[in-house]
Symmetry: D2
């Protein structure tokens, strides 16, 4: 089997858009993380790094898998009891963090603390995503961790390239 | 949300059975790993440790998620191109190994090499599971890694308790 | 080789104390994380969970390894260029986060975000530990990540037991 | 602090050589893994990929840290009881596998099973390294896992580039 990852990257970006998240939304989170360290950093620069993160196969596969799980939970294709666990973003589920970790790791462990930070403080669009979970409008169990992880990985990539 | 993990453990065991894998099948893999180190080890003893591994929430959540992904791929609920990736057990997908790693890790990193070993040599029922992938009868992309990981984690648990 | 982990736990606690960190200091970080979720939580309760985290072999081994690396860097036993990397807590080093992750993982991936949060905001004693790095009084490259990881793991353990 | 990773890579390669391991030794393990899948693969091709793996910062940092720990254990700079744990390659220690995992992960989770396989079967130079542990001539607790992990990561890199 041959898989075209340039094609797959587009699918991943479309899936994110379908769930209400643009690459610019993610880059804004990266900008907020990085503006603590660098004065002159721009949104365009962050966007470029977010784009590179989304070219990595491991990241693309995590995005496709996580968001498809969210969608199938919403549509009722996932059997109970897993469906309820996902619909309620049950805090001890943990597989969402496991996927997030596989994204962060692409640029080494230094993305780890950035991920925890943005996830906890619900930086930028992460607040909107989580509000939708709270009011049961959407199943975003994987989406919020995926978005936070991509933003954190992009911040890690910037730290590497600044060295 | 309150989740009853005693109930959820039964669901996980039923899901494994539905995909053709009993806890005894898993214990046989553990026995093969451990018989290299200990002469007097029995299948019953291994089964007991497999049972303990399956009581852990992280393990139960990984089993429910992985097997549900296999089933939904088979049933056509997962959108392309992810469906084809799963149906073909595409070797660069990697999310199956990510879930496996979250299972192994429950008893520390010492399960890591056991997992790689049984996965590579297709010990015991892992051969049957993989033959079904090869002949396209089933989507077992997650199942084989999950079964190998539980067996390896049980071997890790035995090593800890023997100390 | 037989290793007595009850003995080893004491060694780990003594090493932490030698570096200026008591279990109570760690429990205070856990308390700050958890007080956002539970009103009635006490320092004693957090301390009990920190104690349990420190009974785990994986945690003990990470503590012994990390703090010994800090000490040997200070004493000049580690060869250059690694010594300078450690003495300066070089931000792209990453092995400190790798050890931290092995601690957090003992109670599953849910400790991940707590770790990132306390590490970023330098909660409690983490501020003192980092000030000592900044003013080059001490090599605390591993210590701060280890302390944050134990506190986060204890918070994860509390979340599990409250369910 | 600025760190020159081209320089650091040379230090890592020198440290491996000092412990009796050349990049060609590592490439031979990669060749054995990959010759099961590809007929036409050469040692030169594997060596090229091993070289790329060793250019990654995360890998370089793991090599420097692990081998320095082995050396300091041998020289008696590490305090007891950690020293004895390392000198005996105590099987429940686990931090060696933690470092190995951080190396493998650089090319995604697909290197995981290759690592377990070569570690278990002691492919190529891994046999010599382990014999030296057994006969207490050397402390190679980290060296064997590091070498196996680099070989497995190189195999993962080849799999990615062949796609």
């Amino acid at each position: 089997m041959k898989v075209d990852y340039t094609e797959l990257k587009k699918v991943a970006i479309d899936l994110l858009a379908e769930r209400g998240v643009t690459l610019e939304d993610i880059a804004k989170i990266t900008l907020e993380i990085q503006s603590q360290y660098y004065d002159d950093i721009t949104l365009e620069y962050c966007l470029e790094h977010v784009n590179h993160v989304l070219s990595k196969r491991e990241v693309i596969n995590a995005v496709l898998t996580g968001i498809n799980l969210d969608i199938m939970a919403e549509q009722g294709h996932i059997k109970e009891p897993l469906r309820s666990i996902l619909m309620n973003d049950y805090s001890l589920y943990g597989i969402d963090e496991v996927l997030a970790y596989s994204i962060i790791n692409v640029y080494g462990s230094i993305g780890l603390t950035n991920y925890g930070y943005v996830d906890k403080l619900k930086v930028g669009i992460l607040k909107d995503i989580n509000d939708k979970i709270k009011y049961h409008e959407r199943c975003n169990t994987f989406l919020d961790d995926i978005v936070g992880a991509i933003a954190a990985a992009a911040a890690g990539r910037i730290a590497h390239s600044k060295n």
